[in-house]
Every structure is written in structure tokens, then in C-alpha cells.
Symmetry: C2
Subunit: 243 residues, 2 copies
């Protein structure tokens, strides 16, 4: 049978989602726990790979198993084995046609910022420090421009080999609460580092370092201006995946 | 001159606030940073000592110095020296009569709970897991009873040597958001473990394990029923100190 897991993890001490020769990964940690539980060498498939240091509150992962464990029991059984920085919030049976990656209709990432002179210790694992209060209406103006279907080639990490770089960003929401800002970016799919570069572009515009025109040029497959930074991984959280 | 610092810390990797022979403490970490900055052996005085594992977003600490560093510059200068789990959000000069502990008029602690079967990795450092949804109106009924001036002897950790155990709890607020509950307890002072036992009492009542009458008895200096637990340290945060 095919099982779908909903996963939460604190990415701080993981070298990203995907298994790699050296370094602790979410994928390997999960597959080791599945092996302990079922005795099967199970290959898992995630909705997408998150980078080193990126968190998730709603990663989706499917796998096939011969086990007779009731589907809903995988969550508590795995949680008894998994370390404290990765847990399963839900497990259920899905059809053999379901694919955690290819069946996804919409994914939302949250990018979290804290404004100030210092990194607040109780949130610094999950938020990126910015020194000055950004102009919120400029951030939102930039967000409006990025929403929609575009060729996001200039919003992709250099060295990435993806050919089709057209993606649709359904919405970008900016929520400010005191000295904290959360940016929610929803889309049908994302290129490597795309959300971190989108937020970098929004902040470059908000701080007056880049113009709206330069971001328009980025969307027309032009080069990325050096003023537009890739924001650090730790502020990014995979927030939801809709099927 | 006398300086007042506002301190934030993640208590997870500290053996509490107060200096002790073995173990990393907030006090020693701060005094070491002050020594690096000023060359003086400075003794600091906090609004209160937090236990091992307890966090703070607004601890207040005063100290005297001969240094000519402008008062407001202590915050950024100390932050450049301090580790990432303790930071200074503000520094200012206060009069020689001011005392971070004895001048305090009101202190508020926040106790944070998460409801569910598993510890959500991105919040588990700061919230305590409870398995079932507590009855919120019973929690609030218990809170109402505890508010006011009482002899809180039965709400103090055993082995504590404090003689005067009368304290005033100004207010207890319960805020629920989804599967998270925050309990804010404000008072003129707190006995050892008092907030953690107050929340333990509220949950014992909410879960039907203790009666309102038993909590009334606790407030009349009776014994603490074994059903009333001391809640774990990690859910507790020193939230504000008002002078």
C-alpha cells in the first residue's frame, strides 16, 4: 500500500532534505526510522527537496510498503523512533496514483524576518535579521509584480540545470506583527532558491537598493542585479502543500 | 554609573540564570562578556533567577561600572561578544537607587503549551506537550480562584526555605490559538516553581484530575495533591518586568 506522511522538521541541524554521502539529512533519518519500524528498505518521495537549514511544518512524503501496520499508526510509531527535530504529524493511505511531488497543486513557503540590531535568541533559528524597517508598501508593490506566470530564470540559483524555468506564483502575502515580518509565497512549483531570491528582490526594492524596473527586467529573463541577494536558508519554512 | 540591561535568552543550553560551580549559566556568560568589554570584574543583579531550561524575552539586569562607554552602547557592544542564545535588546543608565529585583512592581511569566500526539519540532524548545485538549473554561475558573493575594506555600517547590509565602497574582490570562495555548501569569513576585505549579493546577482541574475545591485547599496552605504536577521548565518564559 502507499502511505502519505505529513512531516515537520527543524532544519538547523540537517544538511537539507535529500540524502547525501556526508551529512545528516531528513530523508535518511526518515528512511532509517521506517527500516527500524518495518524491516523494509523503503524509498521515500517528498513533495520537494528543502535545502540545508530550511525548515518544514508541512512537508509531504509518500512511500510504498508491504507492512500490515494500519496507515494512521505510522505517525505515532515513527515518532517514537525519530529524533526531536523531525516528527510526523499525520499518516494516511493514498491511492497508487498519488505522488507527493507530481500530484501537488500548490505549495506555500513562509519566509520570516526579524527587524532590529540583534538576533532575538528565542526565534533566531527560524527568522533572518534585517537591520532596518523595510518600506512595506514597496515590498507589496514588488510582490504584485512577481505574482502570476513568468519565466523565473533570473530568480534561480546559478549553476542550476533546470531547462523549463516558467513558473506561476499564485500569491505573495506580507504580514507584519511588531518587529516580525512573514512573507507567504504560494505557487505551482519553485526553482532552486527561488523563494529566497524573491524575498531578496522585495527587500532590495523596499530598501531603495533596486528599482521596480530592475525587478521587471529580472522577470524578462534578464540578469539578476547584484543588489538582489539570496536570503539565508534559516528564515525559510515549507508551510503547506495542497493536492 | 548604574546600567540596566534588557536580556533575551534561550534557556535550553543553560543550567539556569544563577552562577554555579559546574554548568553554563546566563549570569556567568553575561559577566564574562562584561569583563571582556570593560576589563572590570562586574557583579550583575537580575530581576529574578530563572531555572535551568527556562527562557526569557525580557529579563532585567543591573550593574555598576566605572567604564566610560555610553549607556546605550552596552547593548550592541555586548551582543558582539555574547553567544547566539543570549542577547541584550536594550541598555540604559538608571539611578543608584534603582534595583532590578527590588524596584520591580510587576512580573509576567508566559507558560506555553502545545496540544497533540507529538512535539512539533519548530516549537518544541519553547512549549510543553499535552496530549488532550484541556477544558478551557475549567482552566479559566481555576485561574480566577488563584488570582489575588494568597499564601502560596502549597505552590512552592518542596525544599525551598522561603518564610514569607504570601504573594499577589494580579492576573492569569489564557490565550488559545489553534493547537497552542499560552498562559500569562502576572504578579508582584513568585516562589520557587510557583508558575509551573499554578499551570499544573489549572491543567489538573481542566482534565478532571483535581477539583476546584482541592485548589481552594491548596490556597489555604494545605498540602499539594499529587495530581497537581510541576510543569516542565522548557514551556516557561520570563515575559516582562514592570518598574
Amino acid at each position: 500500500m502507499r502511505i502519505l506522511l505529513t512531516l515537520s522538521y527543524d532544519g538547523t541541524d540537517f544538511c537539507g532534505y535529500q540524502i547525501q554521502p556526508n551529512g545528516r539529512t531528513v530523508e535518511e533519518t526518515l528512511e532509517n526510522a521506517l527500516y527500524t519500524l518495518t524491516g523494509e528498505k523503503i524509498k521515500t518521495y517528498a513533495s520537494g527537496r528543502t535545502d540545508s537549514g530550511v525548515h518544514a511544518v508541512c512537508q509531504k512524503v509518500h512511500f510504498d510498503t508491504q507492512s500490515s501496520i494500519p496507515p494512521e499508526n505510522f505517525a505515532p510509531a515513527l515518532n517514537a523512533i525519530l529524533p526531536s527535530d523531525v516528527k510526523v504529524s499525520k499518516s494516511k493511505r493514498v491511492s497508487k496514483n498519488f505522488n507527493a511531488r507530481f500530484s501537488a497543486k500548490k505549495k506555500t513557503y513562509r519566509y520570516s524576518l526579524m527587524i532590529g540590531d540583534y538576533e532575538e535568541p528565542t526565534v533566531s533559528r527560524y527568522k533572518t535579521l534585517i537591520k532596518t524597517e523595510p518600506n512595506l508598501s514597496l515590498m507589496k508593490e514588488c510582490a504584485k509584480l512577481i505574482e502570476g506566470e513568468h519565466d523565473f530564470k533570473a530568480f534561480m540559483a546559478s549553476g542550476s540545470s533546470v531547462q523549463d524555468t516558467v513558473r506561476t506564483v499564485h500569491s505573495i502575502k506580507v504580514v507584519k506583527k511588531g518587529r516580525f515580518i512573514d512573507v507567504y509565497v504560494s505557487g505551482n512549483g519553485f526553482l532552486y532558491n527561488m523563494v529566497r531570491i524573491i524575498v531578496g528582490a522585495m527587500l532590495a526594492v523596499a530598501d531603495g537598493k533596486a528599482t521596480i524596473k530592475e525587478i521587471e527586467d529580472m522577470l524578462n529573463r534578464m540578469e539578476r542585479p547584484i543588489k538582489v541577494k539570496t536570503m539565508p536558508a534559516k528564515g525559510l519554512t515549507l508551510y503547506s502543500v495542497i493536492y
